[in-house]
């Protein structure tokens, strides 16, 4: 395991790695990218993928996730309730509905997908299908 002397070094290295992958063409034309809600970061973890989706203020109950082959659909709504009889000084948060489809360029095992929602982040664990894993070929 890599160790960092300073946690800020780890943060910097991570931010730089993210930046290098900003809107790369890794997903190709298969996913509606750029500007679509919710924003998604995709990571590789060994053979598998982890997608981390940012959606603060979304209720878990308002979230609908479906998976089929290499396609994952994330739909739902974000509601903001302001109490009655208040005067709004600042309103930057947005509410509304969303429906986004993520197509990953590898075969995933739909049965093995796990979703976890915590602190406004949705983490999707996308295991690579056994038949899609690379194999080493022996040269005889």
């Amino acid at each position: 395991m890599m160790g960092y002397a300073d946690p800020l070094d780890a943060l910097f290295a991570f931010q730089r790695a993210l930046e290098n992958r900003f809107s790369s063409d890794w997903l190709g034309a298969s996913t509606a990218t750029g500007g679509a809600y919710p924003p998604i970061n995709v990571f590789q973890q060994g053979d598998d993928l982890v997608a981390i989706v940012e959606m603060p203020g979304v209720n878990k109950e308002d979230l609908n996730i479906q998976a089929k082959e290499n396609t994952i659909r994330i739909a739902g709504q974000k509601a903001i309730d302001y109490p009655e009889s208040v005067s709004l000084h600042r309103r930057e948060r947005l509410s509304g509905v969303f429906d986004r489809t993520l197509v990953v360029p590898m075969q995933i095992d739909p049965e093995g997908i796990q979703a976890e929602y915590k602190d406004g982040l949705l983490a999707l664990f996308l295991p690579r299908a056994e038949k899609d894993k690379p194999r080493s070929i022996e040269v005889s």
Binding site: M1, D6, L8, A10, L11, F12, F14, Q15, A17, L18, E19, N20, R21, F22, S23, S24, W26, L27, T33, G34, Y37, P38, P39, I40, N41, V42, F43, Q44, Q45, L49, V50, E54, M55, P56, V58, N59, K60, Q77, K78, I80, Y82, P83, S85, V86, S87, L88, H89, R90, R91, E92, R93, L94, S95, G96, V97, F98, Y117, D119, G120, L121
Partner: protein, 134 residues
């Protein structure tokens, strides 16, 4: 009711730095809603990925500062392959008036959204004035 609006992505804004930081990391400004009722000011901030234990709230010289830190340990062993949003600590400050009872500020966190309630000091609350018959 009108048709539900489709959500748009809000790009993260970087915090304006007063001084240069020693490390080249970036902090971001959380989106905020602020509303006022008769007896309190409420500040709502979006800080996705921030755990309740990593929030710091302070009031200094009439400035309320809220900081949220990310546990980068959770990203260990993950190689970024595609990215649409930045990840980093959040920070935002607001100047608050002396009408706020600073000792009674409370906060709660849910789904990456922190809500701070800043109660008004007694003398700042609107009051009804009775007219006595003379």
């Amino acid at each position: 009711m009108a048709e539900k609006q489709e959500l748009q992505v809000q790009q993260k804004r970087e915090v304006d730095k007063e001084q240069e930081a020693t490390a080249p990391t970036r902090a971001f400004m959380p989106n905020a809603d602020i509303f006022e009722s008769e007896d309190a000011l409420t500040v709502v901030l979006e800080m996705p990925g921030v755990d309740r234990d990593r929030i710091e709230i302070g009031v200094d010289h009439g400035v309320l500062t809220v900081e949220g830190n990310i546990d980068f340990g959770k990203y260990e062993g993950l190689q970024p392959v595609y990215s649409e949003y930045y990840v980093g600590p959040y920070r935002r400050s607001f100047r608050i008036s002396n009408q706020i009872d600073q000792d009674k500020i409370s906060a709660e966190m849910r789904d990456g959204v922190i809500k701070l309630v800043l109660p008004k000091a007694e003398q700042a609350k609107p009051r009804k004035i009775e007219v006595r018959s003379g």
